[in-house]
Amino acid sequence: MSFAIQNSSDQDALLRAGIDRSLRHPVMFFMTSGAAWLAVSIVLGIIASAKVHRPDFMSGCAWLDYGRVFPSHINALIYGWGFQAAFAILIWLMARLSRKQCTSAGIILTAGHIWNLGVSLGLVGILSGNGTGMPWMEFPSFVWPVFLVAYTAIVIGSFIQFRVRPEGHVYISQWYLLAAMVWFPWVFVTANILLHCIPGHPLMAAGINAWYRSALIFLFFTPVALAAAYYLAPKVTGRPVFSYSLAKLGFWSLALIGPWAGMQKLMGAPIPFFLPYVGAASTVLFFVPAVCAAINILRTTLSSPEVVASSPSLRFMITGIGGLVLLGFAAVWLNLPGSTLPLTQFSLSGYGFEILAIYGFFSFVMFGAVYFIVPRVTGREWLSRRLIKIHFLFSVYGIITVAAVALFGGLQQGMGQEEWQQPWQGAATRAYPYAVATTIAWCFILFSNVFFFIHLALMWLRLGRRSLHPTLLVSDAHHGPGPHGEEGDIDNAGPGHAVAH
């Protein structure tokens, strides 16, 4: 709860509560379902990663062949967890910022179940040996129209809410959410129609696939995460965003730079020369919107160190923004044509960069938003600060390992690959320790997310604490009455019943 709320009128508080109540079922569905898919994808990721350094692990089962389990892992992570977390945050944030209750909760829930069905059928398709062989688009080709229809049903309500919002300030978060809502279908329809429906040159198909992968990261996951961060930072600290001009610069630089990135993955392939170079240049330039947004958001929170120390939402969100800074540096470090790009182009760096984007940046910010939104939407507080801390710590251990793999391991492997006078075995051997590190990192992340899923499921079942006091990371027993009154016992009988010490 921010200090600024003390000055809001009761009417405003009632409006907010009404919005939260109207969104309870869709938001909790997407969050819990997404968290379940996250756990599934991490298990698949561990199996896949183990097979890189121990190829005979579970090798009897066709469904667990590396070439099937790895695409399942990445597709479950993106479409199962990534999109559903994004939907939860998108519909809640747009409703709150547009001051409108959600009137299409039923449609959204149905569409959410259809999305889940699509992901499940898609995963069964890949594991049974019917994948399409196009990275990040391995679901059999009947799945993408299902996703498109479900997506439209889920976000159309938010788009309408924005259009009928009351007169007033348009928040930075709303620009990013609108942009994501426009960019994603454009990218998705383009890639799927050009790759599945219209025959074209095989190399351009590969190039457009590479563009699609980059566009998902820069033009969907990044804006949704930034929307959440630009909401949480001022809301939780009670301070205004540090610089409006920097926010505008960050947004429009992302809009200008993001759409060009991706084809550097085909550097050296016989496609028009400028395509990979433009891709590399814009990926390197991603540094600009990343750092602009990061500076802006971090400076906003810098003014309230005690709130930062105690709020779980802020801790996760700030770590996510730290992940964004790292991502910006990695984008430069890994994509310089002529020096590092030949080394990283076909190495572990690609995967490491993607996981840094999806987990190190996007997921951490989403976790921050989840820890903020769920108490408001369920009317209960989180049960245990220890569960939150475990979730945080083990995820951080895991993602730091992944970052190291991406930044250093991939370069090491690439250097081995470029040593053309040595037999190939040398390059493969260099990758080995980083493959082991990746498996261990995913194990840490799985451990942390099991606790997250349990905690979230308990909240979904309305088993959270009934209390006026939010679950903070530091107990403020030493600091006298805070804005919520005296610290009390667990208050399950309802407000006013517990005895305060």
Partner: protein, 235 residues
């Protein structure tokens, strides 16, 4: 800024890139002009058409379904983009008995018969552009090339010098069946109990046929030949 301006700005910034790097290149590359060979420069007439024999469509489907593209690439990069061409057997053969140095970078006509060029995600394993060449001239003898590939697919670590390979085994592309009458010609030389034989399924055969078709070191017309002048002497 009004909503209309916002959407216009968003559409312009995205649309420019969408047209410039996605739509227009896609449309123009759909109808790639075949290269006319000229008698003077190339020593023959007609068009440049790198032929591929084998079950390309079926095999490419098995390749895609089993995720081979995750660890293997199919692009030999020019020297400004990497050291692929320096390797003795990636872009072709450095010392082909008939043609000398046949190595070349990949060109746009090399993916004929495939809908999606499996350029590849990473190189845990070597590039496969000229796998057919490598298997036939280096790996297989004294075995037949397709038999060597089937053995490798069944268990890549069977061979002593590949004990560290991380290529996954594919026993599910093979089946064990009872021997009826005489053992089949195409039975694998291992892997079955007495009275039974291990045979490759149709998918394994299609994949092997596709892999053997990967020979991308044909002579290229002068316009596609970026080899340094010294090497151009060899034809």
């Amino acid at each position: 800024m009004s909503f209309r301006t916002f959407i216009l700005g968003l559409s312009a910034s995205f649309g420019a890139a969408w047209l410039a790097i996605v739509v227009v290149p896609f449309i123009t590359m759909r109808n790639l002009e075949p290269i006319q060979l000229s008698e003077a420069n190339d020593g023959s007439t007609g068009i440049f058409f790198p032929k591929r024999t084998g079950r390309i469509a079926d095999g490419a489907k098995v390749y895609a379904e089993n995720g081979c593209y995750l660890c293997h690439t199919q692009v030999v990069r020019p020297t400004y983009a990497g050291n692929d061409l320096y390797r003795a057997d990636w872009g072709g053969l450095k010392a082909d008995p008939d043609r000398g140095d046949t190595r070349r970078e990949t060109n746009a006509y090399d993916f004929y018969g495939e809908k999606f060029a499996q350029v590849g995600v990473s190189r845990m394993g070597p590039d496969l552009s000229n796998l057919g060449r490598r298997v036939e001239s280096e790996y297989a003898s004294p075995l037949e090339a397709s038999q060597w590939l089937l053995n490798h697919l069944y268990n890549p670590r069977r061979e002593a010098d590949r004990w560290k390979s991380t290529c996954p085994p594919h026993p599910f592309l093979f089946e064990t069946r009872k021997i009826k009458g005489n053992p089949s010609d195409e039975a694998m030389p291992f892997g079955a109990e007495h009275g039974e034989e291990l045979v490759a399924c149709a998918e394994a055969k299609a994949l092997v046929s596709y892999l053997l078709s990967l020979k991308k070191d044909q002579a290229v017309p002068v316009v596609l030949n970026f080899a340094p002048p010294k090497a151009k002497g060899a034809r």
